[in-house]
Structures are given as C-alpha cells and as structure tokens.
C-alpha cells in the first residue's frame, strides 16, 4: 500500500467544462509540487469508477452527476494536495474562482440552449459551430438544422449513420453540414474554426447583381484580372482540414480572392457517405454569384464517388486537388464529357491550377529555395550518416501530402498514418518517418499540437539527438484557433537541435496569411533567424526534406 498518501477532492455542481479545459486543470494539478496523480474531469460514471480505482473517495462525491466537475489529487501531504486543488481551479476558472457573480434574473445569464442563444442574435443567426463530444454532437447539429442554421460540425467520433442522416436532412433543408471532423470553413468572409484570415473580396461594387462576375476594381483591389473583369474568386471545398487552410492561405498570398471555404469532414468522399456534402457544396458554389472557380481538396476519393462529385461541375472551372493522385482522375470519362475539370496531385498545384483557371499566374514557389537547401546539403555532407527524415506534423493533410511526395523520392516512409499499410509503426531502425501528431494517440491527455506546441518540442529534441537524422520537417499552422506565437516557441528549439550545423537541418513550413493574428512574415522570420529553411508551400517543404536527405538540391524545383 502506498504510504502517507493524502487525497483531496472538490466538486463543482453543474459546471461543464470542455475537455481541453479539463486537461489544463489536470496538467496544472499534476505539475503542482508533491503530486502523484491528479484529474479534473466530469463526474461521469466511468470517471467516478476511475476515482474509486485510484482510491479517491469522499463525501464530496456523494450524488455527483455527469454535469458536475471534480478535481481530485493524490499527493504526499495534505498541504500539497490542497495546493494542487488551488492550482487546478486557477487553471480551470482563472483566479478568483468564478460563480459568485451569477444571480438569478441577471440579463447576463448564459444561454443554455440553441434557442436561447438564438434569441441573443439579431435574426437568430445563420451558422452553428458544434464541437461538443461526438456521442452528443448529432443532437445539437439536428437542432441547428431545424432552426435553419448551417452547421460546422467540428466534433469527432460521430458515427457514420448519423453523418449520413444529418447530411440527408441538410440537403432536404438546403443547408450545409460541414463535418463531422471539419475544423475549417469560411462563409461570407468569416473564418469558422481553425481558419486563416484572407483579404476581403473587395470594396463596395462587390454586392452587385447576381451573376455579375468581376467587379474587383475596388480600392486596393489587388491584381484585377485581365481587362479588369473575370476577377477570379475561388470557392474551396475541402475534405481535409489543413488542406483547406493551405488552399485558402496560398490563394490569398498569391492574390486571389476566396469566396467561401466549405469543409466536408474526412469521410464525406468515402463510398459510405458518397460525397453528399461535396456535391451540395459544389452546386452551391456554382450558383454563388461571388464565386468564379471551385477548388476541391481531398485525399484521393473512391473512384465512383470522384466521378459522381466531379460530374456536378457546371460552367465554372473545377480543380480537384486530390493529394497523391497519380495521373488523371478518369481520363476517358472526363474527355467524353468535355468538362472543365482539372486534377492536381498536390495542394500547391491545385492552387496554381485554380489561378490558371481564372487567368492568373502565381509566383514560383521554389524561388530562393535551392540556394539554402544546397548550402545545407554541403553542411550535411560532412556527416554522411545523417540520411533520415523526421517529419513532425500538426496538420494531418500536410503529413499525408508529405508522405505522398517523399516516398517516390526516398523510398519507404513510416508513419502512424502511412500511405502504404506496410509502413506503419513501429518503424524499423534506419527508416524515414513522418508523424501526424494531431491523431488521437498523440492528443490523448494533451492538447492538439496546433494549440499547444509542447508535445512537438519533446519529439523535436528526440529527433535532434538521433545521429542518423538529416532533416526535421515541421509545419507551423497559423490562423484563428492556433497558438498565438508558435514560431516563438519552436524557433529556439530548432536552433538548439541544429546546434550550429552539427545537428540535423530543420525545414519549417509556415501555413498562414499576413492577416492572421500571428502574422505570416513575422513567424517565418523567427524560424529563418533560427537557421530553419522556410519554404513557400507545404509541398516544397517536403521536397526540400527529400533533397536534404539524398543531397540533391535540385529536387525542390520539380513537382510530379
């Protein structure tokens, strides 16, 4: 039996906090001096069982229910346990603990339901963001649809049949269900979820007649299209969260307006869901007077689904960036239909094709990249054993794109999300590896790496200590929802592991826009100053990693 263990429990009745916030409380208590174990969680039956197993009991827990929050600590002394509870409450509620300012009849009374929240918005709102735990998410999404709201469904773990049911209802009602598992969208110029800040479509003239195209000659209108019309506003449809962010950021950086970004959720283009929301989204963008071209972003879908979805394309150009897709989607079919469908195997190429479709040309994404890569290759050539790539990604789509670009160039790349099932973890010694740190196995008990870079910092240090690693490839995702200064935390670690040229080279791709709260150029500069190579697109970052691993700097200029 553990000797001299003190326990402390505190219960907050009817206090629901999101799991991310619960984790911050758990972490604060665990880090408190003399604490052996701690937990801040909702008093569900399962969590109460865990408490019993840990030997935490007490009168405080009598009658505890699922919407009560507990803090529980096992510590060496009563004082340490009490201090940990204090620390936990400070992290959960901010100090001083809230709760005493609430009085009945107060106008500031929180809305406890969708309907009550709608009462507080002029016109009742038109979009709902749902991010409650998966088992309950469909109920909230259904209520939002009933109320006539589009839904961004961020929640994971929503069963497939519930997704289909929601999307069928949405279709009947003429509404969007973006998700489940959709983290990014933009409607009417406002980013939802994890989104980047793009420049507004233009000044006044924009809200013209339906069907009007162009009209981007407003004040500060950047790069109006040929003959001042055919402005080229692109609507993005994305089954991949960071894919949507990469697309909207590159479009914005390269001077193209983004009309809307419609997230789909990762399962929409599966055979089971059949592209239900992708079809609805493409139709909606076809009909939208502020959209001139459509960019679809996804991992390669089931062929039948791809055919169905692209067949919806009408008069507007449709570019399908199907990451890792080799060759045209469906040559014979596409040719016979003479559709305006183009495919591209990377996000960067998809964005370039979308620009092309509206008569524009973007900058060379490889510009200025060969030189630093070549310099780093020379540096690495002094340590011949450094041959391996370690990709540490916060964005799942960016990880997937890197895997699809790297394997043809460097061979097998092992991953927790491998593109070839044989290349799963654990990776054999001496192999390349790219990890999607946003996957469940890395986010259990800690925040997502986009929100909190801490987990990635540990892994960067580990990779830096491996003598065979030539390059550490990271993505730094900016925008709403992300950490306020990720480069500020990651750059010093990158500098440390590169060790003035004795360690591996760090390649850091910054996904974002100048308008993002973190500022694109500022974040890039911090990483560059630390000695990182900072490419212009995610695809180029992957190519740079390959180039460093096999010492072929010219690779960064060539995409498949």
């Amino acid at each position: 039996m553990v000797s001299s263990t003190a326990t402390a429990v505190r219960l907050h009745k009817d206090t629901y906090l999101d799991s991310v916030v619960q984790l911050s409380g758990t972490r604060a208590m665990t880090q408190s001096e003399g604490v052996k174990w701690a937990s801040a969680a909702m008093a569900t039956a399962a969590n109460l069982e865990t408490l019993r197993e840990m030997g935490v009991e007490g009168p405080e827990l009598q009658g505890a229910r699922a919407n009560d929050l507990f803090l529980a600590v096992l510590a060496g002394t009563d004082e340490a346990a009490a201090a940990a509870i204090e620390a936990g409450e400070a992290a959960l509620f901010g100090a001083p603990a809230r709760g005493d300012s609430v009085s009945a009849g107060d106008a500031a009374r929180p809305a406890r339901s969708l309907a009550e929240a709608q009462d507080r918005l002029d016109g009742g709102g038109n979009v709902a963001i749902v991010s409650v735990p998966g088992p309950y998410a469909a109920i909230e999404a259904h209520k939002a649809l009933t109320a006539g709201l589009h839904v961004l469904l961020f929640s994971d773990n929503v069963p497939l049949d519930e997704e289909v049911e929601l999307k069928d209802r949405a279709r009947d009602l003429g509404l969007l269900v973006m998700g489940p598992g959709a983290g990014t969208a933009m409607l009417g110029g406002t980013g939802l979820g994890f989104a980047n800040v793009v420049k507004p479509l233009s000044g006044r003239g924009e809200h013209g007649e339906p069907g009007e195209r162009g009209g981007r000659g407003g004040p500060g209108g950047r790069g109006a299209g040929p003959a001042g019309r055919g402005a080229g506003r692109v609507g993005v449809v994305a089954a991949a969260g960071t894919g949507a962010q990469e697309a909207m950021s590159l479009l914005d950086q390269w001077g193209v307006g983004v009309s809307h970004v419609i997230g789909l959720g990762g399962r929409d283009l599966s055979e089971a869901v059949g592209g239900r929301m992708a079809i609805a989204a493409i139709e909606a963008l076809e009909a939208d007077p502020h959209t001139d071209a459509i960019l679809l972003v996804s991992k390669p879908p089931a062929p039948d689904v791809a055919r169905t979805v692209t067949s919806v394309a009408g008069v507007k150009p449709l570019v399908a960036a199907l990451i890792g897709l080799a060759g045209p989607l469906d040559e014979a079919d596409a040719a016979s239909r003479e559709r305006t469908v183009t495919t591209a195997p990377t996000l960067e190429q998809g964005v370039a094709a979308a620009l092309h479709s509206v008569g524009k040309v973007g900058p060379d994404p490889a510009a200025g990249l060969t030189e630093p890569v070549a310099a780093a290759c020379r540096q690495l050539s002094t340590s011949a054993e450094r041959r391996l790539i370690r990709g540490l990604f916060s964005g799942g789509t960016l990880c997937y794109e890197a895997l699809s670009l790297l394997s043809p160039l460097v061979g097998e790349v092992y991953s927790n999300t491998p593109i070839d099932k044989r290349w799963g973890l654990p990776a054999p010694a001496g192999s390349h590896m790219c990890l999607d740190l946003g996957e469940e196995e890395y986010t259990k008990g800690r925040p997502h790496p986009m929100i909190d870079p801490e987990a990635r910092i540990e892994l960067m240090r580990q990779a830096g200590a491996e003598p065979c690693v030539a390059v550490i490839l990271i993505d730094v995702v900016l925008g709403y929802g992300s950490h306020p200064d990720p480069a500020g935390l990651l750059a010093p670690v990158a500098r440390e592991v590169m060790a003035g040229g004795d360690g591996p080279q760090v390649v850091a791709y910054v996904l974002g826009t100048e308008g993002d709260p973190q500022g694109l150029e500022d974040q890039r500069r911090k990483l560059r100053d630390a000695g990182c190579i900072v490419p212009a697109t995610a695809a180029r970052a992957a190519l740079a990693a390959a180039a460093l691993a096999i010492r072929k700097p010219d690779l960064v200029g060539a995409l498949p």
């Binding site: 918005l121 109920i139 589009h150 969007l176 939802l192 009309s259 909606a284 709403y480």
Partner: protein, 472 residues
C-alpha cells in the same frame, strides 16, 4: 431537396469550445455562446431517442406540437353548471369511486387516499364506519377508477362517489367537456386524507347545500369564461395553483348578484364556506385545463405531455396522441423544500398526490410562478426565485401562452406545453407547488412544499415515442 444559398454575412451560435466563439468575435461578427450540458445525463438509450426525435422525426413532431400548443392556448373553457357525478360522467356506475392519479390497486393505495376513499364511501351512505368502508372496497363491491379516465380531475387525495356534485366545463372549439368536484376547503377534510365525521359531513354539505345552490347561481349567470378570469388573476398575483385568491374573488364578484338572491340559512352557510375557502377556484381551473388537454390529446405524434397526475404512490404522465392512453409511471416523489407545521417533519410526510398538475400543462402553476409574489415568498423569498421557476419551465416547454402574461417579465406569456424531449434532455422536470399530507395518522395537511416530477417517466415516454412508427 432545396438549393443552398451561401450567406454573405454570418452570425454564429457556438456550441462547444469557447475558442471558436472568440475567433468569430475577433473577426467582428456576432456570436452567441451556448453554455452546453451533457444531455440526459449521458444515458445512451435516451441520447438515441433524442437524436431521432430531434432529427428525422422532428418535422412531424414539431408540427404536432404546434397544434397541441395551439389547442392548449386557444381553447376557451366555459363553466356550464353543476350536476351529480353519476348523471353526467361517462362510463361510471352507481358504485364507482373516482380517485386522483394514475390507476392503482387498493392494496397499493397510500394511507391519505385510502382514508379519503372511505370518507367518500361513507358520504354515499354505503357504510357507516371506516372499517365497513374498507370491507366493501376489499370485497370488490366498490369500483375504484382514476378520475382522469372519466374526463375528471381531482386535487390532492380527493375521491368522489356518484352523488358528489361536479363542475361541468365545456370547451366548445374542441368539443370537449371536463369535470371537477367542488373544492372541500380547509380544516378536517377528505381531500387532505381525513375520514373523521367532520370530513364526511363536509362531503355531505357539498352534495346537499353547496352543490345545488352554486348550480342555481351559475345557471342564473350563464356560462362563465374561466380562463378570462384566470388571465386577470395572473395579473393580480395568482399562479392559479398554489394561490388562487384573486381569481376566487373575481368569480365570487361575478356570481354575487345570483348568490345574494339565493336567500335563506343554506345561503348563509354557503357564503361562510366560500369566504373561508381560498382555494375554491382551484378545482374549476383544473377542470378548465382538463378540457384543453382532452382536446390536445387527440393530436397524433406529439411529444407534449397531456396528462400529469399522482396518486400518492405513483406519478404518471401521458402523451398526446397515445391512442392506448398509456400511462408512464414511476414512484411518486417526496415533496422537497418543505415547510412543516410545528411538530411534523419529513418522516411524517406522504409523497406527492393529486391531479392538480394538469394546471402546469396549460401555463399555470409553476409556469406562472413569476406572476406571484405569494409563490415567490414560498420558493425562497425573492421574485428572482419565482422567475427562475418560470424560466425553468420555459426551458422544457414547446410554446407560450398568448393570454396568461407575466408583468415582471415584460408581459411575456407563460410557458405552455411540456415537451418530453426537453425534459429528458435538460433533466429539468415540472415543479409542482403542493400541500403535504400526513403519511399515516390521518391528521390532514401538515405542511407545503415543492414536488419535483421524477424524470424516469418522461424518459419512458420519450423512448416509447421514438420507437412508435411515425404518425400519418
């Protein structure tokens, strides 16, 4: 399928992570955060039922609910007269005694209701002592029936025999008619679970004196629009369940010319009885409410509760459109937040009893708490306690009254139509302000408190609704 129109400007409801609301706010767009709670305590079956009834089934249910709320809100109950129960109630014979709450066997009936039933048997003249009355019931020569099964509602532990006078209330728009006995008043009375000679005597007085005289007065006045009086009473501080003082006075004022012209010693006895009975209007309001629930329950496929009643042993509800008239029951709850007369405590208290909760279904009682300083005093002392009670009902109701207005809430209508989906989702159940009877001693009322309806029967009703084939 409907074409999707993409919005040019958005305004957002955020349900979940507050950081998403922060991001919308930072972009200068309106956002309202929902303070979300795990629904139905995380109960998997209830979650699945909520998903169905809020999802694919919601259009049909919401349509049915709108019609139910319309009927509960728009029906106009008229007090038509008073007759002996046996001459007007459907399907009763000359040996039937009606009681409060869902159906129940004699062996399961609580002590106060047993005493009341025995008092009714003695008042009918079928027995002269409680023991004789018990023997009659046990040998089956008295038929016990829930009043609700005969379009009748009775408060607390009331029981009525065939000769008892009942108010007749009509709802012409719905073609429904409902009944309630004359309120027995305070003191030694059967509806508080007493069977003393005085309690039996009160029943006889109602049959022989009060009933016939009130019948004459009402006949002289012509039909009385009950809920028009109630709407005024709500403005005058009644919740019309726990407190009916104002509405009482309005009714008596209305009947004053007829009452004055009655004359005689019996009229004086009636006047004394009326002057001493501050809940006289309660039963009339209940019958009025029942005419509306009878109309509403004819709507198929609704999730709104149309019966809610307790017999002191079980608490039961029924949904509109349940053709089987199935009761969903659970144990009658204890009465909480109680105030006891000195010498009594929780160990002496019988569980919640009576049909008066029909009022909570039509926007009175708990839904109207915010109208009543008297109720506020009872609920905790401040008007915000009463407002909180009304707002809790708003969270579980499908609509609002267009006639019962709450001055303190900007003349907002009281909530109408308890929706089982919302009850199960939020865990908020109707609160019923009610009297407390002695559990065993037959000493009548020993206090008052707030009964919290148990969520279990609402859950059962929701599961049954979600498993029932869609209406139409």
């Amino acid at each position: 399928m409907t074409a999707i129109e993409l919005p040019r400007e958005i305004s957002v409801v955020n349900i979940g992570l507050p950081l998403f609301a922060d991001a919308i706010r930072a972009q200068g767009r309106p956002v309202a955060q929902v303070e979300w709670r795990i629904p139905a305590e995380g109960d998997t079956d209830a979650i699945a039922a909520l998903r169905r009834t809020y999802g694919t089934r919601t259009a049909a249910i919401d349509k049915a609910n709108a019609e139910v709320v319309r009927r509960l809100d728009e029906g106009v109950p008229q007090l038509m007269g008073i007759e002996a129960a046996a001459s007007v109630l459907p399907d009763i014979d000359d040996r039937t005694v009606l009681h409060s709450g869902p159906p129940i066997a004699w062996s399961d009936i609580c002590d106060p209701l047993r005493r009341s039933i025995r008092a009714a048997v003695m008042a009918e003249g079928w027995a002269t002592t409680p023991d004789e009355a018990t023997a009659l019931v046990e040998m089956g020569s008295v038929r016990l029936e829930p009043a609700n099964h005969h379009d009748t509602v009775v408060p607390m532990a009331s029981a009525i025999g065939p000769s008892a006078p009942v108010f007749i209330v009509d709802n012409a728009a719905g073609g429904t008619r409902a009944y309630a006995p004359i309120n027995q008043g305070p003191g030694q009375v059967a509806w508080f679970g007493m069977e003393t000679p005085a309690a039996v005597e009160r029943l006889v007085f109602l049959r022989q004196v009060a009933g016939p005289l009130l019948a004459r007065a009402i006949a002289g006045s012509g039909p009385i629009d009950i809920f028009s009086l109630v709407a005024q009473g709500v403005q005058m501080g009644d919740d019309v369940h726990m407190r009916t003082q104002a509405t009482n006075n309005l009714l008596i004022r209305h009947l004053l010319p007829q009452l004055m012209s009655l004359g005689g010693t019996d009229a004086q006895a009636l006047a004394k009885f009326l002057a001493g009975n501050h809940l006289f209007f309660l039963n009339i309001a209940m019958a009025g409410a029942k005419t509306l629930t009878l109309w509403a329950e004819q709507v198929d496929g609704s999730s709104v509760v149309t019966s809610m009643a307790r017999n002191g042993t079980t608490f039961g509800i029924r949904l509109a459109g349940s053709q089987s008239h199935e009761w969903f029951t659970t144990a009658s709850p204890p009465i909480g937040r109680a105030l006891y007369q000195s010498g009594f405590g929780p160990d002496d208290a019988a569980p919640d009893i009576g049909d008066s909760a029909v009022l909570e279904l039509v926007g009175l009682g708990g839904p109207a708490a915010a109208a009543s300083p008297a109720v506020a005093g009872f609920l905790g002392g401040s008007m915000s306690d009463a407002i909180a009670a009304t707002e809790d009902m708003e969270r579980i109701c499908a609509g609002r009254s267009t006639r019962f207005k709450l001055p303190i809430l900007g003349f907002r209508g009281t909530p109408v139509g308890v929706d089982v989906r919302k009850v199960v989702e939020t865990g908020i159940t109707p609160r019923i302000n009610t009297g407390i009877l002695h559990a065993s001693a037959g000493t009548g009322q020993i206090g008052a408190g707030v009964a919290e309806a148990p969520v279990a029967c609402f859950r059962e009703a929701l599961l049954a609704l979600s498993n029932r084939p869609p209406a139409g």
